[in-house]
């Protein structure tokens, strides 16, 4: 066999891309949909198989390679789900009680952290993210420049960083570096 095998550390790739694939899958199928974890594992397993089979040439980036596999798997999943929903009456999926309770607790901690922010940060976050006004409209209502709105968002995010890391659950990927800020 003569294909040039690119130097891919599969363990490193899987570890690095698990949160990225998980994030994209959850956005695509709904963060409340419990199938996201299985789908993520399938995408990573496919990636490993394809790299071992020599399908990754190394002329594109591994991220693009994995993105393609991810999108394809999502499309197939949605197609399959639609087909099943058409043929069988929709049955309520038994919710995982333990997971739901855990999720609600994390949401409470996060909500409490947001509520404890100083008022000037809360108001920016409320208008910009809760009410989803544009940055310009948010600025106008608060008598700020749009740049100042962005600054406050960034700073609020900084203030909440610890709480987010502890409570965002599988949605948040821990940073690869442990830079303190």
């Amino acid at each position: 066999m003569d294909h040039p095998k690119p130097d891919v550390d599969l363990d490193e790739v899987v570890a690095r891309f698990r949160p990225v694939v998980g994030f994209k899958v959850r956005r695509a199928i709904g963060s409340d949909n419990p199938d996201w974890e299985d789908l993520t594992n399938e995408v990573l397993a496919q990636t490993i198989a394809k790299v071992k089979a020599g399908e990754f040439r190394g002329d594109s980036k591994i991220g693009t390679f994995i993105y393609t596999i991810t999108v394809r798997r999502i499309v197939d999943y949605i197609r399959e789900k639609t087909r099943i929903a058409r043929r069988f009456p929709a049955e309520a999926e038994a919710p995982d009680i333990g997971e739901r309770a855990e999720k609600e607790e994390r949401a409470r901690h996060l909500a409490a952290a947001v509520a404890s922010l100083p008022g000037k940060y809360r108001e920016v976050l409320d208008l910009y993210y809760y009410q989803e006004l544009s940055r310009e409209e948010t600025a106008r209502r608060l008598g700020l420049t749009p740049a100042r709105v962005s600054e406050r968002v960034h700073y609020a995010q900084k203030l909440l960083r610890k709480s987010i890391r502890e409570n965002a659950g599988p949605l948040f990927a821990p940073p690869s570096d442990s830079r303190k800020d």
Partner: protein, 205 residues
Amino acid sequence: MPHPEYEDMIDGYLLGRLSEEDAERFERHYFECPECFRQTAERAALIEAIKAAGPDPAAAKRPARAAGFRRFPLAWAAAGAAVVLLAAAALLFLPRGSRPPNFPDGGIRSVRGEPLVLAGPVGTIPEAPKELSWKAFEGAAVYGVVIEGIDPAWTAETRDTAIPVPAEVAARLSPGRTYFWRVKAYSAEGTLLASSARTPFTIER
């Protein structure tokens, strides 16, 4: 921050404002750039925390005017309340056993945990839609609709749960292209109550 042009797109992506092509471009980028992914994921967690926390109690004290509703005088608030009362009265007189309309599963995203459900159009349709319709949202006085994918995007407001698509807008919708529409529900004071997800429709060629 290595890629400022992508940093500017994070909120647009997470709040569903990017076109399909831009959203894909953004996704391809964060699959390749760990730092941009980290920023995106962290922002997503922040937004989720905000939604979970609910509205800012201090907001009630701030004079709120919804963007784009500049001609939204106090008379509307009173009229809005009257419409809600009339609608509630109408519901009381529905014959018992009448089945609620069947709404497709698309288009649910909640701001406060209650969904704003779109009725139609969804998916592939034979011709340009004559109207957009959605399920009433409790407490809503005004709905804002937008069709994206045409330039400029078409926006309109209504107190009903349906709005006709003007002929000149329908004329701008081409077969084979995917368009997105969404609805936002506002209270009489102009506070955003709920926002539907962007829902796609495509006109058959």
